[in-house]
Amino acid sequence: MRKTFITLTLIFLLVIPAFSQSQGISYQAVIISNTNQEIPGNDIAGNIIPNRGIMVRFSILNSAGSIEYQEEHATTTDAYGMINLIIGKGTVTASSAFAFTELDWNGTPKDLKVDISLSQSDLFYTDFSYQELNFIPYAYHKNITATGSLSVDGKSTLQDLSVQATTNLNGSLNVNFASPTVLSGSLKVEKATTLDSVLTVNSKSRLNGQVEIFADINGAQELTDSYPLIVRGSSQGISIKVDGSKSSANNFLLFSDDGGVQGRIEGESDEDVYTDPKYIFDNIGYTVQLAVAIKDLVSASTSSTVCVGLGACVTTPVPSLIIGATIKVVVQAAQIVSYNYFRFQNAGVVYKTKGADYAEYLPKANLDEVFYPGDIIGIKGGYVTKKTDDADLIMVVSSRPIVLGNLPEKGKENAYVKVAFIGQAPAKVLGIVNPGDYIIASGNNDGSGVAISPNLIHPFQYQKIVGVAWPNVKDVPFGYVNIAVGLNSIDVSRLSMKQEGRIVALETELSSLKDQIAKMNAALAQLLPNYVSVLPNIDQDSCKTPIDTKPVNALQNSLISQSNKTDEQAEYTITYHDISKEQILESLEGAKESFKAQGIDIASHPFFVKMSTEPGYQEKFVNELMSAFRKELNKSYDRDIKTGAKVIKLF
């Protein structure tokens, strides 16, 4: 019988590399007879060979035609002449150069040769097929379509990989040969990420965690490349927003070095405003002006009369003066309210550091002169010198400035001195120093100063004041004392207030004396007809001034009936008048008119806005003003009592 066989209508090649499965190539074939079946007439071609035991031998050959792997399978065709085998699971023959798992699928062409023996006992192999392996994974430049999962245990080289769904890489991912990686979607990295080269982000970047820049670079401070963080490319710099409202607990910036924290920029709290020297200065100034206005009001509401004889003589102050003085008080109070409103509303950030003063570079008068921190110096024509005798200003060399302005050109720093303008600064002081003492230049022109108690200082020493010894200073014979500088004008104002008080008292006393003399002259003129003519340099009209006849009559009666009464028994009477709530309210209207006259918009002025919108504020303001007035009035009253004058309170 002469029969040969041809192969096969179907071949499936699959790699099954799952861990629970061995590797292999699925091979399926239908065995068809290549000999026609003879029947009467036309013979039948292409008959299958069903249910027959056969031997199949697979050979995998390399491009040179050498056998790399060979195995045999004993199998039986099914009812449809089909066989299903796994290449790689057969009996390996001696012709195999490698085990199946050791085959190198390196992309070079490989061929599969199939031989079939129709007898399993009497082997006689005939060629069945010889074809190139051209399917996954033995394919080279072939498309792969897989509807299931694909697992690859070993290395895979892919020229162009496109994955349509989620891709899981359970190992590391290396993109070699400096190949670019382009992600059109978002990138999420859950672990620490290291970038060894330049990172360029062409769009807005949002970093939700802490960012630490550790740039191991050094260089000169004037070189931009010396700095780890460079912000450029915009007309604006850095915007910093912290959570919550501004507070000293929220730092916008923190400055540190190897020595620890050296400073910070934080939100300006109310406490910061209260301790701001400028705020203190301004408030003291406004308060002084208000106090002066209140004193003026007290003066305006006070009248003094000389009474001779028994009984009280009472005269009333001029109402228009009271109203005018009250308006001044209201205006000053409104200025304080307005200032405080804007100051707290405009509170921003504050820079805090161990430095304690605001300083500027000022040029030396003599380049050879050497200055040390704490030296008390004189400023003459804008130049720094240790000669303080004829200096325009007396200042101190800064030790640790917070802000240092007027930076000189590079290399010319030695021609300048850092001079403290405001804040705290150590100063070289000779002698005993007590808190609150004024520090003035010693006059030795050696950078030293001396302390003078506020009670002992003279006006001619005001211009020599450098600052005030800080409350935490202790008694020291010599050394550096922490002083507050830049507040000289405040101190001078305080001293001026004292002087103002003295002057007002003297003026009041002088006015009283003038009034008494005028009335005495008037009384004498009525009693003595030629009295006016004998008085030298006297205002004739003043003697004609009508006077209250009651006290005059009382004086006449006193002179007639009590001729033994002496001049020493005549009484000097000061009358104190209260101001009413209606007068203050009237003054409020006057203050409004005053502001309007200065071009100030009343509708937006914080004081008047508060007056009109905040319930009870007007009542509170009026009460406080009356309280302050009465307090000052009582002080003046007590003072007059001590002078022995007769004082009358008419409220």
């Binding site: 079946q37 003879e38 009467p40 036309n42 039948i44 299958i48």
Partner: protein
Amino acid sequence: MVLLGLSSVGQIINFETGKVLSRFDYKNSSGDKLEGLKSDVYSNLGAGARFPLFNTNFHALLNANYNRYGAKGSDPVLGNYYEWDVKYIGVCFGFDYEFNRPEVTRNEQHGFSYYIRAAISTEFLMDGMQNLNNQISNLKGVEEFDRPIYSARATLGFNYYINKTYILFGQYTGGRSFLIGDYANKEQLRFTTHSLSIGLAINLMYFQ
């Protein structure tokens, strides 16, 4: 015209029709038979002349035939189905001997007689069709059907003399073809036929 000429001297012409059951006896080149073939039944036609020999009950016969043969079968293992339908025309020459022939000299006379016949025939394919797995192909010129077939036939029949002119007859004929030539290591196809037919014979000597 030949038949009519013969009738003028030969006596009897006949016409017949019937059914023929054919069976294909096939061996492939390896000598293996094709199992599972079944016979088919088709019609046949025939016409010819009988010539008495020496005024005895022997007759010589010369007929022309049209026969249609067929068979079909299938292979349950391979799943193949096949069917053949072939039409042959040919001539048959033979001799018969009539038994118990009645004397019929007048039209009023009737009677039965019996006869046996031996004949040989040769047939040629007129048309043929093969159905293989529902694919139809023509058998003209295809091996086993591209040659004339030669057959030996044996007939057993009866005559009923309706009158002295007309004779009604019925017969059974068995036949088997045989091969002529070298068929060594070649496919061999033989036909075995069984036919039943009836016919009408006319004695031309009395035909007016």
